[in-house]
Amino acid sequence: MNDKVYYWQALNRSLDVEMAADESIIVLGEDVGLYGGSYRVTEGLYAKYGEWRLRDTPISEGSFTGLGVGAAMVGLRPVVEIMTINFALLALDAIINMAAKIPFMSGGQFPMPLVVRMPGGVAKQLAAQHSQRLEQTLMNVPGLRIAVPATPQDAYWQLCQAINSNEPVVLLEHELLYFSKGELDESRQAPPMHRARVCRQGSDLTIVTYSRMRDLALQAAMQLADTGIEAEVIDLRSLRPIDWDSCIASLEKTHRLLIVEEDSGFAGAGAEITAGLTERCFLIMDAPPQRVAGKELPIAYNAALEAASIPRVADIVSAAQQLCRP
């Protein structure tokens, strides 16, 4: 069945399917129960599974995430929802010092079947404290996996995979994607959680991107096609690990690399992608890799400034044209 559903509905569906199949799955977070989740992701589940499995927590991000860690050590499979990624800064000790390290520090005695979901990114005029992207903070932590679904189908697949994984997985969801629609076919076989996807074929340059920037890159690719440039667009889907092979296969065809990320560029995800692919593909590149990234500024409340602080389609088109100039 190929229904068009919202991104939040796909996540909701994933939770419902998995929770029905496995009683050890619990959801923890602020307003995930009675309220149904601030982005409706847990809607209807409280009535179905009860308060012990859908737990409305106090506003204590550090400790309810840590509570998830403890519960995971004794066989529960907690899915922690942090209302927005901005509050995850208070939970970094639980994510980095506990979840990522306990399996290792214990010499492999305690796997960590924990999922931490967090909406993030720049939404609509939420100002600096509610417009963060923390992928670079989490990417540098051995022991974590980071999935960045950009479509309802990937949101469904990757949340199911994260729940079934014994590794701590952080799911970075984009606030502007919750109410985007796409196809969801639950019966389709999922690719591995970390596999990148070529969303558009092209021969002139490779655009590597993830999360909401995937949509902008695809729009830019359409405009570029009108000017005679065929861009291949790769949606990474996972930031740790990164599927280098899919990127290399594309670069062997295009020889030009453009990275598009919403986060600030300095020491960000794009820097790692650039370094990783330069190390692997330097000799086949026809031009230095380029990045289109967020500006080195906190995000302003003012709408025009906010829009100017993160990549726009025109920025991607222009960078691609520069890169392809003979």
Partner: protein, 361 residues
């Protein structure tokens, strides 16, 4: 069974328990003193926090627990692991960083783990034990099991936000958590009156309506009894309990700390009058000084006879025990030093315990 018989059996069990606790007190002291020597010789490195002075807390609390209970501990946890039944060989090997250590050499002194003994780890970020124990308590409560999780922490940890966040949740959902504060009065080098607006730690639990009490943490029997009472309350579903054990550490915060911030007389007074190991010996061995004073010298023979028939034992038995634990520690050092070092492949395997065989790019 007659009442007399029942009393006798009860007494025998009590004395058996006392002896086991005394042996663990002696083992704790001997183990830690040897660890200090091994550190001085370079066989153990890193941050090393020792337990002498605080033995009555770990021993008293953990002897009141059931094997099915969980233990979450701090970075000063060698003795908690030993009393919990993690073999001294594997604890020592972990301190030596060897593959045979209870964490495979990946954790070291501050991160001892043992799944089989439900020893859920030592944590080196102050305050981390609160949410982890609360999470384990959540899983127990959700499954309606009769188990309890014991959460150790020091007096310094109650100033962390995680303390308040976790106690609130544990109380709110009536989770089976026993919070045990090892109040040694110093947050590293800062005395409790200089780090806490409320120096009576147990009072802090009251704001979350958690029944809390303070016990003499130098008296293993007092600690044991308080723990038994608290665990009984938790097991009938009354939610968390809180025990503050007032104790004192005889060494610095870690081996890197000479402890010069403490008045010498304070340390000497504690060592002389409050040594928990000496107190435990006095409680189990006959006749004690108090007993002699009570009955008078002329009646010592009678007293001795009655104590002997009651199962108390003479001072020589303590010597036998001392020799026994010394041999156990010696063997642990031999085992650790002859054990192999872990390899980088072992390190990767430890992390990949999560992977379920999946191969990544």
């Amino acid at each position: 069974m007659s009442f007399v018989q029942a009393d006798r059996e009860e007494l025998a069990m009590e004395l058996d328990l006392q002896r086991k606790m005394l042996r663990d007190m002696l083992l704790a002291r001997a183990f830690e003193e040897r660890v200090a020597q091994e550190y001085a010789q370079g066989n153990i490195a890193g941050f090393l926090h020792l337990y002498p002075g605080e033995e009555a807390v770990g021993v008293g609390v953990l002897h009141a627990a059931e094997p099915a209970d969980y233990v979450v501990s701090t970075y000063r946890e060698h003795v908690h692991a030993l009393v919990r039944g993690v073999p001294a060989n594997n604890v020592m090997a972990e301190l030596f960083g060897r593959k045979t250590g209870c964490s495979g050499g990946m954790g070291g002194s501050m991160h001892l783990f043992n799944r089989e003994r439900r020893f859920m780890g030592g944590y080196a970020i102050v305050g981390e034990t609160f949410p982890i124990a609360t999470g384990i308590g959540y899983a127990i409560a959700m499954r309606e099991l009769p188990e309890v999780v014991i959460c150790f922490f020091g007096d310094g940890a109650v100033n962390q936000g995680a303390f308040h966040e976790s106690l609130n949740m544990a109380a709110l959902w009536k989770l089976p958590v026993l919070f045990v504060c090892e109040n040694n009065h110093y947050q590293i080098g800062t005395e409790i009156h200089r780090h806490s607006a409320v120096a009576e730690v147990y009072k802090r639990a009251c704001s979350y309506r958690i029944p809390a009490r303070r016990v003499n943490g130098m008296d293993v029997l007092a600690v044991h009894q308080a723990t038994e009472e608290a665990l009984a309350q938790i097991r009938v579903g009354n939610g968390p309990q809180f025990i503050e054990c007032e104790t004192y550490r005889f060494r610095g915060h870690s081996m890197a700390d000479p402890g010069s911030y403490r008045p010498k007389v304070e340390l000497q007074a504690f060592e002389k009058n409050e040594d928990p190991v000496k107190i435990a010996i006095a409680e189990v061995v006959y006749p004690s000084a108090e007993q002699i004073t009570a009955v008078g010298r002329d009646n010592i023979a009678n007293l001795t006879e009655s104590l002997r028939s009651g199962g108390h034992f003479p001072a020589e038995h303590v010597d036998v025990m001392q020799a026994d634990v010394a041999a156990e520690v010696e063997e642990a050092v031999r085992f650790a030093s002859e054990s192999p070092e872990p390899t980088l492949d072992d390190a990767r395997a430890a992390l990949d315990c999560n992977r379920q065989g999946e191969v990544l790019v």
